[in-house]
């Protein structure tokens, strides 16, 4: 039992330590370690976990780790996998944080950071446009997206409220749409 938990922890520790960008970057390693070497589950199962993880709150790679850990060893397995994914981040980021804060006033670091900020802005623009292409399909999506943009730029409405309200709105609008489609399809 303890041996398998340690195996889960170390497996996901390695995952957290080598995958840049998280999420789908882990998939090839999961395929090799879990499907081919350990034969715990099929690749389809892992892909299902990814699909469901995107529909759940939280960080996708942590969610996938918890699913796999839970399947193997229930709650202790889930905890081992989750702590495994985050342990390397805690170590690496703490070190970088202290390096960065001690060199922050260095003139070269300042020039570099100022250009990096511009680069980060471009990366975010790319993310936003990719999300818009994938997730906004109709006029409802466009209006909702613009409304949220307006609310977050010009008011102090909390993002938590926005998330709850738009989830409810999506469910209601979709239910009304399918409801009226069904009614329209019925013979009079």
């Amino acid at each position: 039992m303890a041996g398998e938990l340690l195996d889960l922890y170390l497996l996901f520790f390695r995952m957290g330590a080598v995958t840049f960008g998280g999420g789908y970057a882990m998939l090839p390693i999961l395929r090799r370690e879990i499907v081919q070497k350990r034969r715990w589950m099929s690749e389809e199962e892992i892909i299902d976990y990814y699909a469901v993880s995107q529909g759940l709150p939280g960080i996708i790679s942590v969610n996938v780790g918890v699913f796999i850990g839970h399947k193997q060893k229930k709650v202790p397995g889930a905890l081992a996998a989750a702590f495994g994914v985050v342990s390397p981040c805690i170590i690496i980021i703490s070190v970088i944080y202290f390096l960065l804060s001690s060199f922050q006033d260095n003139v070269y670091v300042r020039h570099a950071l100022s250009a990096i900020t511009v680069c980060v802005a471009a990366l975010i623009l790319d993310t936003v446009l990719a999300m818009a292409r994938k997730g906004i399909k109709d006029i409802f999506g466009i209006v909702l997206c613009l409304a949220v943009l307006y609310l977050s730029l010009f008011t102090s409405v909390s993002p938590i409220l926005i998330i709850i309200a738009s989830g409810l709105l999506g469910a209601v609008v979709q239910a009304l749409k399918t409801g009226s489609a069904m009614k329209g399809g019925q013979p009079k």
């Binding site: 390397p88 250009a115 680069c119």
Partner: protein, 188 residues
């Protein structure tokens, strides 16, 4: 002691409501910067750059980085545990009902509203990064001279970076590294 509880609670909420992967934590972190006063907007862009250039999920890296800046390494650990706790609880529950969850039309309908909303939230967060990185709103408001609004060098770099990212999809680390060097040479 209080600060650790606060950190855990704030990041627990982020972990619970930030749906849609890495960048989805961004609007919440900006809101938290305003409401808590724990860190500045400038720290957020540094943090994105660090998160994108280190292994591990971006959401976890951001939690560790903010936690470290607020309350040292213990703060980093506690913020990270806070951000993954909701996911651990939820995924353990969903594991038992995986089939039902995947086929639920309700979940699909909720996402019909969530996807555009999350896009809008991240767009708004991205706008403040662009504002901090490329535009000089504060100077413009004082002088009302349009030329003071834009720093040409940064605007050109922003457009160039975006074009490169869009066309060649390089790894974010590469963009950040090139920007750092360019920033030092061109005195950004």
């Amino acid at each position: 002691m209080m600060i650790y509880l606060q950190l855990f609670w704030e990041f627990f909420k982020i972990g619970l409501f930030a749906v849609g992967g890495g960048m989805a934590t961004l609007p919440f972190l900006q809101k938290l910067a305003v409401t808590s006063g724990w860190y500045s907007q400038a720290l957020i862009t540094d943090m994105i750059a660090v998160s994108e250039s280190t292994p591990g999920p971006v959401g976890v890296n951001m939690a560790t980085y903010v936690g470290c800046s607020v309350a040292g390494v213990p703060g980093g650990i506690i913020a990270t545990l806070g951000v993954i706790t909701p996911a651990i609880i939820i995924v353990n529950i969903v594991s038992a009902y995986l089939e039902k969850f995947r086929e639920s039309t309700l979940v699909e309908n909720v996402f019909y509203g969530l996807r555009p909303a999350v896009t809008g939230l991240i767009a708004a967060a991205g706008f403040s990064v662009v504002e901090a990185g490329v535009l000089h709103m504060d100077v413009f408001l004082q002088t009302h001279n349009f030329l003071d609004l834009i720093e040409l060098k940064k605007l050109i770099w922003f457009i160039l970076m975006y074009a490169v990212i869009r066309k060649y999809k390089p790894h974010p680390i590469l963009c950040i590294a090139v920007s750092a060097v360019a920033g030092i040479i061109l005195l950004f």
